[in-house]
C-alpha cells in the first residue's frame, strides 16, 4: 500500500458553518488521505502552527463568512513565519470571482466555490500533495 498523504482542514475566523469542511474531510478520508481537522473558530496562527507540527502535505481552508480575503493570506503568512512557505494552501467558500484572483495572487494554490464537485477538489489536493 502506498503512503497516505496528510492534509489539514481548517476553518480560520469565527464562522461556525462546517458542513462543507467536514464533507471534504470525510471525502478525502474515503480517498485514502489522512485528515487532521482542527475544528471551527481558529486563528491563522493556530492553523499554521498545527500544520507545521503535524507535518502535513497540504492545508485546506474554508470560510463562509466573507472574511477570506483577510484570513487566507494570513494563514500563508503565518506558515511562512514558521518555515512552512513550501506547504501549499487551498481554499474554499463563498468567494466571488474577483476575490479568487486576489487570493491566487496572494499564494493560494486553488480556490473552490459552491457547486465544485468533490472529485475536482480531491484531485487538487492530490496534485498539491504529489508536488510535496
Amino acid at each position: 500500500m502506498s503512503i497516505p498523504y496528510r492534509v489539514l482542514i481548517g476553518k480560520p475566523g469565527l464562522d461556525g458553518h462546517d458542513r462543507g469542511a467536514k464533507f471534504i474531510a470525510r471525502a478525502l478520508r474515503d480517498e485514502g488521505f489522512e485528515v487532521i481537522y482542527t475544528g471551527i473558530r481558529r486563528t491563522a496562527a493556530e492553523i499554521a502552527a498545527t500544520a507545521i507540527q503535524e507535518d502535513v502535505d497540504v492545508v485546506g481552508l474554508s470560510s463562509l463568512s466573507g472574511a477570506h480575503l483577510r484570513l487566507f493570506p494570513e494563514v500563508i503568512k503565518e506558515l511562512k513565519d514558521r518555515g512552512g512557505a513550501d506547504i501549499p494552501v487551498l481554499g474554499g467558500g463563498v468567494i466571488p470571482d474577483e476575490d479568487k484572483e486576489q487570493l491566487l495572487a496572494a499564494g493560494l494554490r486553488a480556490i473552490f466555490t459552491p457547486g465544485t464537485p468533490a472529485a475536482t477538489i480531491i484531485q487538487s489536493f492530490s496534485d498539491a500533495c504529489k508536488q510535496q
Binding site: G16, H17, K22, R41, T43, S65, D97, G115, A118
Partner: protein, 547 residues
Amino acid sequence: MNNNSKFNDWQENELAASLNRFPERKEEFKLHGDAEVQRLAMPKVIDEQYEKSLGFPGKYPFTRGVQPTMYRGRFWTMRQYAGFSSAAESNKRYRYLLEQGTTGLSVAFDLPTQIGYDSDDAMSLGEVGKVGVAIDTLADMEALFADIPLADISTSMTINSPAIVLLAMYIVVAEKQGVPAEKLRGTIQNDVLKEYVARGTYIFPPRPSLGIITDIFQWCSSNMPLFNTISISGYHIREAGSTAAQEVAFTLANGITYVQTALDAGLEIDHFAKRLAFFFNASSNLLEEVAKFRAARRLWARIMKNRFEAQHPASMMMRFHTQTAGNTLAAQQIDNNIVRVTLQALAAVLGGTQSLHTNSRDEALSLPTEASVRTALRTQQIIAHESGVAETVDPFAGSYYMEQLTDDIELAAEELIAKIDDSGGVVSCIENGFIKSQIEQAAYDYQKDIESGERVIVGVNAFQIEGEEKPELLRVNPEVEEAQVAHLQSVRAQRDQEEVNRSLSALKQAAESGDNLMNPIMDAVRAYGSLGEICTVLRSVFGEYRD
C-alpha cells in the same frame, strides 16, 4: 356528541371568539367566479381518530394550525433577515424594507457580536460587519434603530450566547425613545443549545448558558410580556445537514431542555411557555416539509400537555418562524434560486408558519443586493395575494400521503427524543457528540448522493450551462472594520470610565453569586460598557466552551 355538534362546537367557541377579535381580511373569499372558498374543509365523518390526530385549527393538538382562521385573518409576518456593515448602513436597509411592505425587522449581527468580541479584538480580524451588523456598545444600537419607532414594529434578533446583552441594549434604546419594555414586541433567538451542535457561536459551557437563558425568561415574564424570549431553532440543524425528522427531534429536545431548566429554577410552566417560539427550515421537498411543520406542531402540543402538564392551550401552541433553506441555493444559474425559494416558501405557508424569511437569489455568492431582497419579498407577497393558498386553512389535511408522512415524521422524531432522554438528555448528548454525529452522517449521505448524481440539483450537477454571465454582487465596504474600531474607541474615550468599571464589577459579583444578570447588564449597557467587556466578565466566571 355527533359529528356536526363537534364542528358546531368549534365554530361557536374557538372560531366565533377568533372572528370577534380578529375579523377576516375580506368579507368573502371567492374563486374566479362566484364560488366561495371554503374556510376549513372537513371530513364527512369526524371520528375519534380524526379528533385525536388533527382536530380543529386553533385547538389542541394544533396539527391544522394555531389560529382558527389562519391567514384569512392575517397573513404571516413577512420578516426579512438583514444587516451588514455598520449600524447606520443597516438602519438604511431596515427603513427601505419597511417602506417596501415588510412587517417585521430581523436583525443579523456580525460574527464578533454573536460571539461576544468587540470589533477591535484580535479574534475579530476580517469578520467585522461581514455577515451582519457590528454592535459594540449602546451607541451602535441607537444608530441601528434611529428613526424607527420601536413601539410600532416587532424586531427579531438573531443572537444567542450574548442575547442577554443585546436584549438589554434594545430595552435601553426603547427606554430612550420613551417606549416601556412591556410594549416591546419581537423575538431573541437565545437558543444556545443548537449552537453546540450546528451553528458554532457558543461562548460559555452549556450549563451556565442555560442559567443565563433562565434569567431572561424570568425577567421578561414579569417585565416584557409581549416579547418572545427564545426562538428554539431547527433551522441551523437542518442547514448543517440533518434530515427533516432530525430537525424536529433535536429542536424539540432542546425545547424540552429549556422548559425543564426553567421549571427547575422555579418558574411556572403556564407563565413562560406561551413566550417560547420556534424557528424552522423550509427545504426543497415540498410535501415532506409541509408534513414536518404539522408533525412538529402536534408533537410539541403533546409534549407540553403530557410531559409538562401545561394547562393553558397557549402553552401547547407551537408558533414558529420559517426561513427558506440557504444550503439549497446554487451558485450556478442563480435565477433558478427564485423558483426554489418559491417552492420552499409555499411549503412554509401550507405548513402554517407565523412568519417567514425568503432567501435571495444571490446568497450563494454573497450577501444579497437590494434588488434581490425585493424579489424575495415579492415572492411572499405573490404567495399571499395571488396563489390562493392563504384563503383556506390547512388545505393538505386529509390527504392520505400527507397524513401518513406527518405521522411518520412525528414517530421518527419521538423515537429520537426518547433516545436522547435515555442517554441523559441534550447536554449529555452534546458532550458525547451523539447529536453532532447524527447530523454529520445525514449531511454526508446527502452530499454523496449529489456527487454521484443520484440526487439531481438543476444547474449544478445536471442541466449546466457554460459561460454564465456574472451577476452584480453586494460588497461590504472593506473599510468598515477600521471605521467600526475607530468608533468604538471614541465611545470608550467619551464615556464615564468609573461608571463602567463599577457596573462591570457589580456584574461580576452577580454572576458569581448566581443572581439574575438582567439588571446588572442593563446598568453596564447604560454606562456604554461594551459587549466584549461584558462578555469578558462573564467568561471569567463561567469559563469558555471549546468543541
